[in-house]
Amino acid sequence: MKKSLLMFIALLTVLAGCGKSNSAAISVNDDHKYQEERQSVEKVLGHDKHVQKVSVLFTKKEAIVGVEVKPFSKWNKKKYEKKWKKKIKRALPDRDVLVSTDQKIIMETDRLNEKKMSEKKVKEKIKNLKELAEEQT
């Protein structure tokens, strides 16, 4: 009984990784307005094997990209962050881009995406988040 239960748990653990699709979910603050930008972010991050989830805040001049990295890719997340920032900057040349793998930035971008706020408020929030991202201690 005990052995079969153990086997069952082991099987579940092994199979837990199966059945998920390969592309990461991307959420944006205004789907209609920023469809093109969304697509260019999706091109960079959508099929990256290290990415679990992406949430992006756009304004006309700025973009904050919160990237949730898969657990075993967290070892090198700063390196990926740099790489993605370069690529996204190339894809969105007229915007000031911040790419972050920090949990706080992901939480906040997710929260703001659900709220559907005005451009002015989003701008304010982006300024706050940028200041937060720069804090060292």
Partner: protein
């Protein structure tokens, strides 16, 4: 009876510690304490302006404070009897060491008793903490040089 005979007699009579069971208990309780710490980190990130990088400091402070409270109420020693190293190795063990020596030496007065002895146990925690931090930093340097991770 010479020393050797005494040793064998003592070893045959004293109960054997079940190392695997103790390790499992320590692993479980240490893991639970760390999970609580992670939850506190998430709490600070969700409700205050802390990022993943900065939330560590208030989390450590909160965990130490909670351990100090539980030591004062006499609850932490019950946990330590069950978990052993699982409750001593996390940062909560530091809080426990500070307060338990403060309680122990309270009868000798507040200055020479509590003040003079409060870091009696925790001093070793600081020393070994610094030494192990140095070793961990060396390991990380090695990993960064090899290219497994980065700073």
């Amino acid at each position: 009876m010479d020393a050797k005979q005494y040793d064998t007699l003592q070893q045959s009579l004293s109960p054997k510690p079940s190392i695997i069971k103790n390790c499992l208990k320590a692993f479980l309780v240490g893991g639970i304490i760390c999970t609580i710490g992670q939850l506190i980190t998430f709490f600070y990130m969700a409700y205050f302006n802390f990022t993943e990088r900065t939330a560590g400091n208030p989390t450590v402070a909160t965990m130490i404070f909670l351990a100090m409270l539980f030591t004062g109420f006499g609850l932490y020693k019950k946990l330590a009897q069950f978990a052993g190293a699982g409750s001593a190795v996390p940062v909560t063990g530091f809080g426990n060491a500070v307060i338990s020596s403060a309680i122990e030496h309270k009868s000798e007065g507040y200055v020479l008793g509590v003040g003079g002895n409060i870091f009696k146990l925790a001093g070793s925690v600081i020393v070994f903490g610094v030494v192990s931090a140095f070793v961990v930093a060396l390991v990380k340097l090695l990993l960064v040089t090899v290219g497994v991770t980065n700073w």
